[in-house]
Symmetry: C3
Subunit: 160 residues, 3 copies
């Protein structure tokens, strides 16, 4: 099966990255003219949203996420929406790695749950069959501390 991947690492204050051209480049390199592909990000705090690449919209989305699942604070004895059990190491027992500092990313896990991690998109005449304003936008909601390199896989499901 024809499958490849590329990596994206957001900058400190970078909220998202438009990956449409990167995916289109994969399609071109694979010489796919007509078919469909599966694009998927393989990390629990990430998502790929198909929407318009317009900074106002991105800000609008984050303003709502800040209400639904505000950024996690490590210390929060009073609880509240910015308290996440995932980040409370006095309670947590699962998936803890010795010698690694746990990231404060409870909000990132919750935020990512609400969005798609992948999409199956058609390719017509060598191009992604997306609408005029549709763009593939990568998000990594794990935004406290240094950013990490993330892998996005693209596989050709079928076509020629």
């Amino acid at each position: 099966m024809n499958r490849t991947s590329f990596t994206v690492k957001l900058g400190k204050d970078e909220k998202y990255r438009n990956i449409t051209d990167l995916v289109q480049k994969v399609v071109k390199t694979a010489d796919l003219w007509d078919g469909c592909i599966n694009i998927r990000v393989k990390h629990t705090t990430c998502a790929i949203i198909i929407n318009e690449d317009e900074r106002g919209f991105i800000d609008d989305l984050f303003a709502r996420l800040d209400r639904i699942a505000p950024q996690s604070v490590k210390e929060n004895p009073m609880g509240g929406l910015n308290y996440y059990r995932h980040d409370d190491l006095s309670l947590r027992t699962q998936n803890i790695e010795e010698g690694t500092e746990e990231r404060v990313n409870g909000h990132a896990h919750v935020r990512a749950s609400f969005f798609p991690k992948g999409h199956v998109v058609d390719v017509c005449e060598g191009k992604l069959d997306i609408g005029r304003w549709e763009q593939l936008i990568f998000f990594d909601f794990d935004d406290i501390g240094p950013r990490r390199e993330r892998t996005i896989s693209v596989s050709i499901i079928n076509g020629a």
Copy 2:
């Protein structure tokens, strides 16, 4: 590749459209007996939700969306959840088309982000392999001003 599309245009006060029969008709016309298809709406303010076609549920969903991402107001000097930077033409610089009035649809972009834009669904014995109550429900959250015609693509990923 076997691919087709159809269009849907909601009425002024129409919140959604059940497109299950339209998709089933595509399957029939394509004479697909066993396989799987990719159904996708190609517009940034739209979504396809698989759920029950029951008006109470639709009202319930919109009541929660009205809290999370209330309908945009163009003028809102005080900010608040119904203020969207996407609709603030005093700030916006990207994707503005000369000679076209920008739609007030910041809420529609945010709402659509939370839902799937497409689904890969199996076809068994000529029928969509969906649960008893499952229906494919089309939403266009861009509901201020005249509705627009929207394209939904259906492609046969594989099968015979």
Copy 3:
């Protein structure tokens, strides 16, 4: 087409079930070495979320859902977010089955709408091509009253 299914029934106080191993077993039984599969739950109140299998995260997610779409109460003359028209049999006319008690599950329909019902996942060298912390987590938000058996279908889209 190579397609199968399995069932999951959550216990009374069980919020979710990690189905990764069950899906991996299907892949092994099908002797799929390289390809991609479509995993889908066929019920309107269910979802499959790809995220970390860590109880703190699950609690965090439900804490936010309890705000967005709190558990439905059948009687609620004052309205409010825990009132769902779907469960108001004084108003509802659609999809009512004679001789069956309607479940109080308005919140479950709304909750499930926000999450994926399925995923297309690659298989590489006989294994699901998922990230280190990624797990396939099944949710049935219909949690008032006895739990029901739910069907999850797995179909091999392509591969050998």
